[in-house]
């Protein structure tokens, strides 16, 4: 059935646009809901305007167990029956499509703009709970810490949170619109700043997409170095998160140690390319900087030291009862909710789901060297912290192996022009989870559409669900245990 309804593609593969099946709306509906029932997740669902009021919807479905990615499409006009009632993980995508193109998914339970673009359609109020002693708490967009802007609206009964609604869009810079007609000299810089803390992740996803479209194979050495940089990015952010989680429960030793060790990992990325965030490192065709033996030795020494330090710093968390008392049973998400909402990354893995692009849809160096998937069962703040610690150990092991066995050769292959009328799917496991880029070209080999799905796009609603029936005072802790990107969502 699936063969006629959708086309399979592997991660980083180019397919001709004309081979993407165009289904009737009801077949498309059945394909998406049926695949999701069968264990797949919606990796991307987006519209592309076709002129004349028609919008073509594309769905990228990922079946982790089978290791298949598939793509399908349908044309819609002013409205279509919403997928969300049967398939909750479509809800945020459908809100995005409605906001961007005015296509109404009929029957969507909460059709509200997600980014507040100029065209405001649907609901604009916040969901309200009514009743005696119910009160509302509004936070943001300007927060107490040095973080990005977003608005959080809590419906509370006493300390207890009944519902949290998250309003984003403050960071919207118009990236996807600006990518059309590219690639051009700004494209890679958009990618590196989509979510600045995921520079390597998004730049790798982009490069994989254009390399697929150009039929360009980056050299093995470049692939290995990309892997090293991606894991260093994960190490820095996971370490920083563990420190920040400790800070949010007032346990200052780990907070101050990890704040510093995070910087040590960032400085290793700076040793690679001069930038702590990896700006300039990943480039179409390969990487921008090579390493010699002396630099490899230096990196190996630094990573061993950093592992020793982070081991001491985080082991305090697991053995301190006042920390565990706050971490355990806070912000729990069940595996069922995770599946229904299509959550990704450490959040999903902390609820026992073995979701990891490196394992399910291996890309680049991960096709040859596997990183075991780290999971935990309890789905609470403790689990999300502990999964990060497991991943820190496995990332260090991976970086160590790669640096010791770097393949010789060049670091960059020459890029060729992009194929015309083609589409490429590119998935990368960033430190927050699954990053998906879908690049489509027109008859001149320029981008006719470029879709970016940051892991935060999937996970923000997970945070809202995690807060249900929790104390409002646990919000900073729960929020930090997700640590989602505002700009990666708003684009």
């Amino acid at each position: 059935m699936a063969a006629t309804l959708s086309i399979h593609a592997s991660n980083g593969e180019r397919i001709a646009l004309e081979t993407v099946p165009r289904l009737s709306i009801s077949d498309f509906h059945d394909l998406v809901t049926g695949s999701v029932r069968g264990g797949a997740r919606i990796t991307a669902l987006f519209g592309q305007p076709q002129g004349g009021g028609t919008v073509r919807l594309f769905a990228v479905l990922a079946d982790g167990n089978a290791g298949t990615l598939s793509l399908s499409s349908t044309d819609v006009a002013s409205d279509y029956p919403s997928l969300t009632p049967e398939c909750p993980q479509a809800h945020w995508f459908e809100r995005e499509i409605a906001e961007q193109f005015g296509v109404i998914p009929q029957g969507h339970p909460w059709l509200k703009p997600i980014r507040y673009q100029s065209s405001r359609r649907g609901i604009t109020n916040f969901f309200q709970v009514a009743g005696e002693e119910i009160h509302e708490v509004a936070v943001g967009p300007v927060h107490a810490g040095v973080i990005e802007p977003g608005h959080f609206r809590f419906q509370c009964h006493g300390e207890n949170v009944l519902h949290l609604e998250i309003a984003l869009g403050y960071q919207r810079r118009g990236v996807e619109r600006a990518l059309n007609g590219g690639p051009n000299k700004r494209t890679i810089h958009y990618m590196e700043t989509l979510a600045g803390d995921t520079t390597i992740g998004h730049a790798t996803a982009y490069c994989q997409a254009v390399e697929a479209l150009a039929n360009c194979q980056p050299p093995a050495r470049a692939q290995a170095l990309r892997g090293v940089a991606l894991e260093l990015e994960r190490l820095a952010n996971h370490t920083g998160d563990l420190g920040a989680l400790a800070g949010d429960v007032g346990y200052l030793p780990t907070a101050s140690f990890c704040g510093r060790i995070r910087g040590d990992f960032l400085n290793m990325t700076a040793l690679l390319c001069g930038s702590r965030f990896g700006r300039g490192f990943v480039r179409p065709g390969g990487v921008g900087f090579d390493v010699d033996d002396a630099r490899v030795t230096q990196l190996l020494e630094k990573i061993e030291q950093a592992l020793r330090d982070v081991t001491v710093a985080t082991s305090l968390l697991w053995s301190t009862s006042s920390v565990r008392a706050r971490f355990e049973n806070a912000g729990t998400i069940s595996p069922k909710t995770c599946k229904e909402l299509g959550l990704v990354g450490p959040v999903a893995r902390a609820s026992g789901l073995e979701r990891d692009v490196r394992q399910e849809f291996p890309f680049g160096i991960y096709r040859f060297f596997q990183v075991p998937v780290s999971t935990f069962q309890t789905g609470d703040v403790f689990a999300r912290a502990y999964v990060r610690w497991l991943e820190i150990q496995r990332s260090v092991a991976f970086v160590r192996d790669q640096l010791k066995t770097l393949p010789p050769g060049s670091i960059r292959a020459e890029m060729k022009p992009l194929a015309a009328e083609a589409v490429a799917l590119s998935l990368v496991e960033g430190w927050r989870g699954e990053i998906c880029h879908v690049a489509m070209t027109n008859q001149h080999g320029r981008f006719s559409h470029y879709k970016i799905v940051d892991p935060s796009f999937h996970n923000w609603f997970g945070l809202a669900m995690a807060m249900r029936d929790q104390q409002i005072s646990d919000f900073p802790l729960c929020n930090k245990s997700f640590n989602l990107s505002y700009c990666g969502h708003d684009l």
Binding site: P149, G174, G259, R279
Partner: protein, 257 residues
């Protein structure tokens, strides 16, 4: 408790002696760029064409390099046929005036201290409210890092506070998106006068990679007056710290040496 104390001993003393001692930057660090004009072939404009934000412009053989727009990327370096462009290790880049960041065969004029009257108020205690207005979390992260034990911002009397009502000024990152414009303005208005504003990063100075997007306002000074510009994408924490300390008069000499 014993375990925590042992860990404390293991982690060691980590605060760097800046500004008393020079920091060691990574060898590939991209600080202030230098263009050797004498190497430029007549009529060549490869670097200007390669620059993603038009930080380099060439008019009638006059080359202007705007550090406020510069992403400190490698596009110009790679495009130059004569290897005339290179990045130095110079991390001191902050300036008081926007025009001081435009280099036109002159040396960069670094930030000067606040006037005596304001300096008397803020010199020993400066409380800042940070506002991210479309920042990508790069600048935010490297501002945050100043609070770690490595930089220990508190020892200079500088602190980030939770409310604009408690603040002496704002530190702004991001190009100022349309959706954050009114929130930024409201936050500025909520800070009691006299107040100062610091723009950190290429986005907050000129819009960064998002310059001239209809969704953004090309930087903080399109909305509020700015007293200190800190270039970079993102600026290194030392660049930010150096700028702050210059503004407060803690570092007074122009080249730090």
């Amino acid at each position: 408790m014993l375990k925590a104390n042992l860990a404390r001993y293991q982690q060691g003393y980590r605060t760097i002696p800046f500004p008393k001692a020079e920091p060691v930057m990574p060898d590939r660090f991209r600080g202030q760029p230098v263009i050797e004009r004498e190497k430029c072939p007549v009529g060549c404009r490869d670097c200007a064409d390669a620059c993603p934000t038009d930080a380099i412009t060439i008019d009638n053989q006059t080359l202007r390099l705007d550090l406020g727009r510069c992403l400190f990327c490698t596009d110009c370096v790679e495009s130059c046929p004569e290897q005339a462009i290179r990045y130095t290790q110079e991390f001191r880049l902050a300036a008081n005036r926007r025009e001081d960041l435009v280099m036109n065969d002159k040396t960069l004029e670094l930030a000067k201290a606040l006037e005596d009257k304001t300096r008397k108020l803020f010199g020993r205690s400066l409380k800042l409210r940070q506002v991210s207005a479309g920042g990508c979390n790069g600048c935010e992260s490297d501002v945050n890092v100043l609070n770690t034990i490595v930089f220990d911002l508190g020892r200079f009397g500088i602190q980030f506070v939770a409310s604009p009502r408690h603040a002496d000024g704002l530190l702004i990152t991001g190009p100022v998106t349309e959706n954050m414009k009114s929130a930024l303005k409201n936050t500025y208005d909520a800070v009691p006068s006299p107040k100062i504003v610091i723009a950190v990063g290429a986005c907050a100075i000129a819009g960064g990679p998002y310059i001239n997007h209809s969704e953004v306002h090309n930087g903080a000074d399109t909305v509020v007056p700015v007293d200190l510009y800190v270039p970079g994408c993102p600026p290194h924490p030392f660049t930010i710290l150096d700028g702050l300390l210059r503004l407060l008069g803690t570092i007074e000499d122009l080249r730090g040496s």
